[in-house]
């Protein structure tokens, strides 16, 4: 899934050649990453669908105004994720105040079938708990953790999406993970925890064990 930091982006090349056909390839290649990121950041299945669709639409409209050279030079995944996050921030800003209820990111109808039903249910249960805990993180930490570990982006790409130096991105990720571990350890039920505000400065934090593992 990883794209290397150098070399042409295959999808960008397709887009430069044919915007409509290239768009189908762009969607196919990145829809899962965009949807997963949207779902784990905003927490609601329907919102994630809307947000993903809106991001792709914005992307297409932007591409329509770009010349071939600019399109061919795009790194499509971080570019799309940046658009997605901008769309999400706008949405959050527009909505009077983001409701801080427990968000577990459940699909509208989740059926477990066949032999794997139990495993699926168990996995689903874990995801639900974790999703609820993620919802308690400050926005910046949640976004960083989701990009790094749910979307599986290398730290350089996380930094590019967040528009910050890699060191800062790392620190957001590690603080987010630390907070998640604390929450897990405390076994708190999400309802009992007051929402935390996002007030940490964007400076470099001392490296923690989380970085060393990588």
């Amino acid at each position: 899934m990883d794209q290397t930091a150098t070399g042409p982006d295959r999808i960008a090349v397709e887009l430069a050649a044919d915007l409509d056909a290239g768009f189908a390839a762009l969607f196919e290649a990145h829809q899962n990453v965009l949807f997963s990121t949207a779902l784990r950041i905003c927490g609601r299945w329907a919102d994630a669908e809307d947000l993903t669709a809106a991001a792709f639409l914005r992307a297409f409209r932007a591409l329509s105004g770009y010349d071939r050279e600019r399109i061919a030079g795009l790194r499509t995944r971080p570019w799309l994720l940046t658009i997605l996050l901008n769309a999400w921030r706008n949405q959050v800003r527009t909505a009077a105040r983001r409701p801080r209820e427990v968000l577990d990111g459940e699909p509208p109808e989740l059926e477990a079938r066949g032999a794997s039903a139990e495993a699926q249910a168990e996995r689903h249960e874990t995801s639900r708990e974790l999703a609820a805990l993620l919802g308690l993180l400050p926005d910046r930490q949640r976004v960083a953790v989701v990009l790094r570990y749910v979307a599986d982006l290398p730290i350089a790409e996380v930094a590019s999406v967040l528009g910050c130096p890699p060191g800062t991105a790392k620190s957001h990720v590690s603080r987010g993970l630390r907070r998640l571990r604390e929450l897990q350890a405390a076994q708190v039920r999400p309802d009992d925890v007051a929402p935390q505000t996002d007030e940490e400065p964007d400076d470099l934090a001392p490296q923690t064990d989380e970085e060393k593992v990588r």
């Binding site: 409509d20 768009f23 829809q31 669709a53 329509s64 974790l130 993620l134 989701v146 599986d152 990588r214």
Partner: protein, 259 residues
Amino acid sequence: MTSDHDPLLAGLAAMAVPAPGRLLDTVAGRWTRVPGPAGDVYAAATDLGVAYLRTAGSAEEFAGLFRARFGRPLLPAARPPAGLLTALRTGRAGRVRLDLRGLTPFAASVLAAAATIPRGETRPYGWIARQAGRPRAVRAAASALAANPVPLLIPCHRIVQADGVAGGYVFGTPRKEALLRLEGANLDEVRDLAAAGTRYLASDTTGVVCFPSCRNARRITPAHRHGFASLAAADRSGFRPCRHCMPVLPGGPLRKQSA
């Protein structure tokens, strides 16, 4: 990979989910080329229904028109949208679903009124403006018709000038005339009547006054047929407006009268 050993990282990685299957169709349109009553047309549909229908020299040209109007990508469709072929063959939109997002409320009202005109009949521009709730906005109504995203499915060709002249059309006036003749509209009769000063026909057996293209007007036998230059004149002679074609006095009720 660290996530193999760290349950938290493994849990986070497991939170990635595949995107729902139908998501692309909420973003992109799908095009097909289908036979129409006056040659092939290109149609674009979204997940909500047919959004755009035009003649074009090529799929690329059509995609360009679609993109300029909707700002959405256009991909090939596996098959025409449900009901489209039947609708084009019969001239009745029937069950074909339309995606009319992005219209102004007035344009939407104009097209909704146009959609009620049956095959084989015509209505004047003034009528459609009145039905759309703005009797004086005749030009604006004509513009809304000219920009109809789905001609044929919403039969904007059935709105003609009050004197029976076909008037403008998104596919050109000759096509409009040809379509109306194909549908059996009495364009020439309306024109001849108008030239003689008759804009409405009334029947003394039913006491009803109609537009001359109305199916009720066309059933009136010559012995019982009365022509009027204005609805006011017909009104003075005791005729009431037909409930099918709904001619309305200026300042009269906007919608179909009851009973």
